[in-house]
């Protein structure tokens, strides 16, 4: 039963991811006085891509073809770890937050390799930049997450969320720092403005898009889907860790329904904030990203220190 719900939750994750992307795009369009595409447009894109005949470069090796599957499944596995509507699911026990970061690293590893596989300058450029940014983002992210896990004294996400939930509303300065750090990291990792622009194909600025330039058809669909999934995943992380209220602790249908509604609401709200931010802020130069990320790291560190000094001092 528990396993079933876990699988269900994961599937829900996978299914809802394009919706979040659609909603985000919609909000952005409205903010920028453009006519918005339908909320379901991402689904249509994915469907269309899967039915197209993929064209693969002659230079490509098996790795290029295998990479999308690996990336997608790694991201799905990461998603399965994160509690969406309910905590205490068995999947989250099989892997904790560090493993989740590991899954991201796994996906990124293959994405970067795929970028290098064809042997074009763009692919290499994208891989190089992606690895740079992610290697700076990863410590910042772990710093933020460690703050939480040390508070909850567990690295299990569901355990941590349950801890916050049961503790009730306590204003922790460390959480404020951690939240901001995590948001900054999430923006960098999911390739949003101001770090990367998912809509651009201008060679000097693109990162994520540069790596997947050679993909088409179902391969492209998988990668796109995986990145939508990643966006949602970070959203859920922020929403459920810092504002866990509404998430279900039991597996009754009603509770689960409320959980679903709560997370949908929270994500919708987050997306609006993100859209506003993306509209207001301009993209940064590549080499300012390090400052941005070291700021995130600093926030994470401050969160950690304030946890140690202010909250858990003996």
């Amino acid at each position: 039963m528990n396993w079933l719900i876990a699988i269900l939750q994961t599937s829900l994750f996978v299914v809802l991811a394009p919706l979040l992307a659609g909603w985000l795009k919609m909000c952005k369009c409205h903010l920028q006085n453009r006519k918005a595409p339908s909320l379901l447009q991402p689904y249509r894109d994915l469907l269309k891509l899967t039915h197209k005949q993929p064209v693969v470069s002659e230079q490509a090796s098996w790795l290029f073809i295998a990479a999308p599957y690996l990336i997608f499944s790694a991201t799905v596995l990461a998603a399965s770890v994160v509690p969406l509507i309910a905590v205490n699911l068995p999947t989250s026990a099989s892997a904790d937050v560090i493993v989740m970061v590991g899954f991201f690293a796994f996906a990124r590893f293959f994405l970067a390799l795929a970028g290098l596989d064809i042997g074009t300058a763009f692919g290499g450029m994208g891989s190089s930049r992606e690895m740079t940014i992610s290697s700076l983002a990863e410590p910042a992210m772990l710093m933020a997450i460690f703050t939480l896990t040390m508070t909850a004294s567990t690295t299990n996400l569901s355990g941590a969320i349950a801890h916050v939930l049961n503790e009730g509303l306590i204003l922790r300065p460390s959480f404020v720092f951690a939240l901001f750090a995590l948001i900054l990291v999430a923006i960098a990792e999911t390739g949003r403005i101001p770090v990367d622009n998912p809509a651009t194909h201008l060679e000097l600025t693109m990162i994520h898009e540069a790596m997947i330039l050679e993909y088409s058809g179902r391969h492209l669909a998988l990668i796109e889907w995986a990145s939508q999934l990643k966006l949602m995943l970070y959203g859920v992380l922020i929403a459920n860790i810092f504002f866990p209220w509404g998430i279900s602790e039991t597996f009754g249908a009603k509770d689960l329904g409320y959980g679903l509604l709560a997370i949908l609401g929270k994500l919708a709200l987050l997306a609006i904030f993100l859209a506003i931010a993306e509209t207001l802020v301009a993209k940064m130069r590549l080499f300012r990203v390090q400052e941005y990320l070291s700021f995130a790291y600093l926030l994470g560190l401050l969160g950690m220190l304030s946890h140690i000094i202010l909250e858990a001092s003996r």
């Binding site: 026990a93 290098l116 596989d117 740079t132």
Partner: protein, 708 residues
Amino acid sequence: MILLSAYCAVLLSFASGLLALMMHQRQNLSAISEYGFNTFFTRNVHCRGWLNKNLEERRFPVFLKQAVFVLLGLSGVFAVIAGLAVLLGKGVITDQIALGLPWLPWHIRFDGLSGFFFLIIGIAVCAVSLYGPGYVRTYKENEHPFAALGLFTGLFVTGMLLVLLADDAFMFMIAWELMSVASYFLVAFQHENPANRRAAFLYLLMAEVGALSIILGFGVLASFSDGFTFDALREANLSTTWASIAFVLALLGFGMKAGIVPVHVWLPEAHPVAPSHISALMSGVMLKVALYGLIRFCFDLLGDVQWQWGVVLLVLGTVSALGGILYALMQPNLKRLLAYSSVENIGIIFMVLGLSMIFMANGHPQLAALGFLAALFHAFNHALFKNLLFLGAGIIHHQTHELNIDMMGGLIKKMPQTSALFLVGCMSISSLPLFNGFVSEWLAFQTALQVDVLDNGVLRSLIPVAAAALALTAALAAACFVKVFGLIFLGQARSRNSEKAHEVRDKGMLAGPALLAGLCFFIGIFPGVIIHLINNVSSQLLGHTLPNDSALGWLWLAPVSAEQASYSPPLVLIGALIAAGICYWYLRRSPLTVMRRAETWDCGFGGLTPRMQYTSSSFTMPFRRIFAKTWIIDEQIKKDLQGAMDQDVVAVHYQLHIQDHSWPRLYQPIAQGVNNLARQVGRIQTGNIRTYLGYSFATLLLLLWVIS
């Protein structure tokens, strides 16, 4: 029985070395066999025919090389058996050999810790001896005599095994130096290259300094006890100050061998120039022996660890880990890169060991055992994947005659098996889930996160920072190995050599790495196997084990408690298979969407050439900018100008030299100091006999004055 197999391992490796010496003794060997058959085995015609055939002029070298590696492999097998046996038997076996000083025979002690490292060495040696025969075939006998290579390989392995068995300071040092010297000769094996000679000199020099430091460390212990046996040294009753002095000396000595920043410089020089299977042993195994020495010295001989030592290890480890991987990132030479990455991994191990010490000294032996576990586990993993990668690098070098990764590319299509094995190595070392590297790194994080139990505020804030540095290290390692794999195997060939490369024909050369790759994956999925073994070590050494596998069974890894953290690699594997399977099935079901091959899109300019690809230096350019202070960067761009007013750029020359800071900061001043001092001292030898008489006269007067 267990000890017997350990001895077998030692003797077999020694025998393999001696056998290699027979390379030029074909005549004598055949004479001996003739004599032997005539006198003893007159009837055994079959065997005789076989032997005679092998002793023929043409077949003999091949036969001998194989025989040498068979012996070496057997030694590895025995080492594995002995290691496993002693780990599972949980016993401590001691013995004495009547060698050494008259009042100090060689003391032998075989316990869990030695057993564990026996296991590491055994596996590595097995893989290497599978790989070796194919690899050494290309060496021309008159230029690179196999006798030297085989002899010193055998001695090298013998030395390492003996270090693990030693139970007194004297034998320990002998074995230790045997290991150093033998590997020195291996580094100098292809000595016609100046780089090899330089590396060998540096290596031997640092080995010597390190060994002296270790001797001094033992000396400190010995001056507080009566004797040099480890038993006596354990009894030594040291004040904290003296214990700390001993610790620092041991750290310097063992750290030098292990390659801790800033005393790591020999490592990236020496490892790349040795033959690849030797680099594999040096990087994969010898560094672990240094680690063994440190553990033996600190945890076993010194006994009461201080938390300050832990902090020292933690800081040094962090610096090494970050420094190592940042230096590795910049290297275009594959083996140099791997060597630097060894610095990184050793740094991680030291870091976790430091954590273990801190917990130990603060009275949390359970957590100390956790840290210890993580450290040993990572040591084990590093031995596996670094061996694998070096062997892979050897294959690549063997097939392309290149080590510069800017000259490779596209090998995945030419060498599919090698590339798959190498990919496993890269994934393990980048600590991606499902592979062994991840498990030990996960355990390291778990150890670091237990910081809450400590009372000391400095430690409580220092350790998380170290953990974040560990995260940065891991991410950089991933970037580094994306670069490695991407530039070597993916893309288009960047030189003629790699264009013409093909898969190795020798099955052994693939079997060795395949063994290691298989283990990497197996341990990544079932880490419990190794953890169980290490638990036996830590129960012997620290008196505590982990409470793992009680609540969740063998499937789960829950080092502290199931609530705090858990990881189940088999379930993750199943999940990944399901997810990948579903989408694969779903997407591939339609026959209409069969993949089509087409030319790469070239932005309409036409003709993508391999030179347009990213190179090592361009791949790492962002890192170079961000962490600019870490290196000494010498970047030169020269333009050849031509035409009216020198306006046309004909060619652009780009040069990039990246150097370690430790050279100009640490080593050159020392070298210069010694040279200066020598020059000053040289002035007393004036060549004038009257001056000399004056010295004699002055000495006499001085002494007479002193005496009265």
